[in-house]
């Protein structure tokens, strides 16, 4: 047995090496960098070791906490809507018998569009003077044509296109995952439930949702971790503005690294973002593990 174990480790060595090289080395480097001052715009400062000073600066910065708040708000709102909408669409698609292939392709279309393109599309639609959204609102009498709402210049309204664009783009992904989950549920269970007199809602609550839990959790994990690292959508749509009202952590990190060329501080921000997503992932994996392991009754 010991020999077998040794051989098994030997076989895994290349894979472990690759993981180390690809995942651990950059991570370790970033962690090391985050303990230094390294400002390319202030080369006369050199690259001294400063311990946790960069982390102290980040945790003492209002902009960091605001960005964390924006990220949480974006994640909870967009993922929440996506799960609800995705569940609704998946059930609907599961029930339809005609033109299934066509419908599924249609639903998937937004997912196939690159995020940057999608973000541009939505920014055109929400343009204050030329956009279709304001034109429709004016047509409906909900907006004064001469004083249109400038969505992207309002700290609250700017979230609307951001979240709508994300929902539009990633709901198909959730739908697809849930649809696969639905197809795994034994039809006999519904027949049994209905012969016991359960209505459609009861069936959804007592049969569909418990059995869909693993698929729902997978969708939740993927979407949360993705949403938490949101960058491109915001970068194109609002650039984090107005002011920094829609700036997520990833964009703040980008600004520190690539606008201000503060590699030490930017690395500390990147490590903080990594820590938060890592904790989230571990938490989810525990819940998910329980969800998958527990045998459905």
């Amino acid at each position: 047995v010991r020999d077998e174990t040794r051989i098994a480790w030997l076989f895994m060595l290349p894979a472990l090496g690759a993981v180390g090289l690809i995942a651990l080395f950059p991570l370790g480097w970033t962690a090391w960098e985050s303990l230094h001052v390294h400002d390319l715009r202030m080369p006369w400062r050199g690259r001294p070791f400063v311990g946790l000073a960069n982390y102290r600066e980040a945790l003492g910065s209002g902009r960091f906490w605001a960005a964390l708040g924006h990220t949480l708000f974006f994640t909870v709102t967009s993922v929440g809507i996506e799960l609800l909408l995705g569940l609704f669409l998946a059930v609907a698609l599961h029930r339809t018998s005609r033109a299934r292939g066509l419908l599924r392709t249609a639903v998937l279309l937004p997912w196939a569009i690159p995020t940057v393109v999608a973000a541009l599309l939505w920014s055109f639609m929400f343009d204050s003077h030329a956009g279709v959204v304001n034109a429709v609102l004016a047509e409906l009498g909900a907006m004064d044509r001469e004083a249109p709402l400038v969505w992207l210049a309002d700290a609250g309204a700017a979230w609307v296109p951001v979240i709508l664009a994300d929902v539009w783009k990633t709901t198909p992904f959730v739908t697809l995952l849930l649809l696969a989950g639905l197809q795994n549920i034994d039809r006999a269970l519904y027949e049994a439930a209905s012969s016991d007199g359960a209505g459609a809602l009861q069936q959804l609550w007592h049969v569909t949702l418990p059995l869909l839990k693993p698929a729902l959790l997978v969708a939740l994990v993927f979407r949360t971790l993705d949403a938490f690292r949101v960058f491109d959508l915001v970068f194109v749509l609002t650039r984090g503005g107005p002011g920094t009202a829609t700036e997520p952590i990833a964009l703040y990190t980008f600004t520190a690294l690539l606008n201000n060329l503060r590699f030490g501080y930017g690395s500390a921000l990147a490590m903080l973002l990594f820590l938060v997503t890592f904790v989230l992932a571990v938490l989810y994996l525990r819940i998910l593990g329980a969800g998958v392991g527990g045998s459905p009754r």
Partner: protein
């Protein structure tokens, strides 16, 4: 590799003596008439200095990309390229990093240059780059709606409102998106109200009374009188130009590049119906004109400082500047040329001169990019009514001071 055509062009001019010559490299804009003109001027240079060959390198036109390239090269102490074309806000950064040569050793004579253009190229009292051409922010106005450029901000608002009454959709359009352009617009308002971002000793004074008044005026122009459309808070140069050239605005703040484009009757509805002037001011201030433009500097690690200097001196000589003005419409930074009979600019020379005399450089600081980012956020917060101008500026000022402190550049 991609520089080959220009190398050939330049080499043609210097006959057979190229072999034993010195080669200096110069990354520059490689597209259109600007590149053609530069190649032609360098051919003339080679005839005068057969021992020196100038190799043009293609570089991106976008300032950010070019900056990134330069930082990579210079940070690695590369000796190549020898000559650098700098944006006006880069000189201090590169000088403080020790990446470009001080020019005093060549006995550089800058007495003929506009003081503002030279000031932007000095760091700690030493000259590090020569102005090549100047860019200034100016006020475009519709001559069919307004008789002359307004002298005061109050007058501008009044005329803008009257113009809107006469059918123009917007009163005054400027660049209000959160980017460098917004800082330039603010700088001009700030000068108009008699304020500065940093004072003569490098202290942060943007949160003093003139700054608050200037920012309050800008905010009220959007949310009070409404002469500036709220949409401008997402606009950069081009969106404001389109608004003006479509006949929608009475006033436009923009750079000189917009002039020939808007005089093109095929594309512009206001061709022949606009003029330029100084931006307005308030009592106690004087008209501001943000200074932009290009400078030439020498890589500190060059192996051929003398040859590079000859190229700099040649390209910034009156003859070459006159040619750039005539062909490209770029403003020469030499004062004496505005008396020169051959100076041919699209905009009357007297006006251009007055504009450059009012030119306001952005603070000369090695960390300007970071300072600017802080200002952009603060200004945009106030203009989108997330904070009062006073609070937004005092918070920005605190961040500016912290950044200067971190850089070891605080005023003593």
């Amino acid at each position: 590799m991609r520089a080959t055509p220009y190398v050939l062009l330049v080499a043609l001019g210097c006959g057979g003596q190229r072999a034993e010559g010195i080669v200096v490299t110069f990354p520059a804009s490689a597209v259109g008439r600007e590149a053609e003109l530069l190649a032609a001027q360098l051919r003339r240079f080679s005839r005068l200095h057969p021992e020196i060959t100038v190799e043009l390198r293609r570089t991106p036109d976008a300032a950010d990309q070019r900056h990134q390239l330069y930082v990579q090269w210079l940070n690695a102490r590369a000796a190549d390229p020898d000559i650098l074309q700098l944006d006006v806000t880069w000189t201090a950064e590169f000088a403080a990093a020790g990446w470009i040569l001080p020019l005093e050793r060549f006995a550089a004579d800058v007495t003929d240059f506009f003081p503002a253009t030279v000031r932007a190229n000095r760091w700690r009292g030493e000259l590090f780059a020569l102005p090549w051409f100047a860019d200034v922010g100016m006020l475009y106005y519709r001559t069919d709606l307004v008789a002359r450029a307004p002298a005061t901000f109050a007058e501008l608002v009044e005329l803008a409102e009257r113009g809107r009454g006469a059918g123009a959709r917007f009163g005054f359009v400027w660049q209000g998106a959160r980017y460098e352009g917004l800082v330039c617009v603010f700088l001009e308002h700030l000068a108009g109200f008699g304020g500065e971002i940093l004072d003569g000793e490098g202290r942060v004074v943007v949160d003093a009374a003139p700054g608050i008044r200037a920012l309050t005026f800008m905010r009220d122009a959007i949310h009070g009188s409404g002469v500036v459309p709220e949409a401008a808070l997402n606009w950069q140069e081009e969106q404001t130009r389109y608004a003006f050239q479509n006949g929608e605005a009475v006033f436009l703040r923009n750079w000189p590049y917009a002039w020939p484009l808007m005089q093109d009757a095929a594309k512009s509805r206001v061709a022949g119906r606009f003029a330029v002037g100084l931006l307005p001011s308030a009592p106690g201030g004087s008209a501001g004109a943000a200074l932009g433009g290009s400078q030439l500097a020498i890589n500190a690690n060059t192996e051929h400082p003398e040859a590079a200097w000859r190229v700099l001196r040649f390209l910034t000589a009156p003859e070459q500047m006159l040619e750039r003005a005539a062909v490209l419409g770029q403003f020469p930074p030499r004062v004496s040329l505005y008396e020169h009979p051959e100076l041919a600019l699209p905009i009357p020379a007297g006006q251009v001169r007055a504009l450059i005399e009012h030119a306001t450089p952005r603070p000369v600081s090695p960390v300007w990019a970071e300072l600017s980012e802080i200002l952009q956020v603060g200004l945009h917060r106030a203009l989108t009514r997330q904070a009062e101008p006073e609070d937004a500026l005092s918070r920005a000022a605190a961040d500016l001071r912290a950044t200067l402190e971190r850089a070891g550049l605080s005023a003593r």
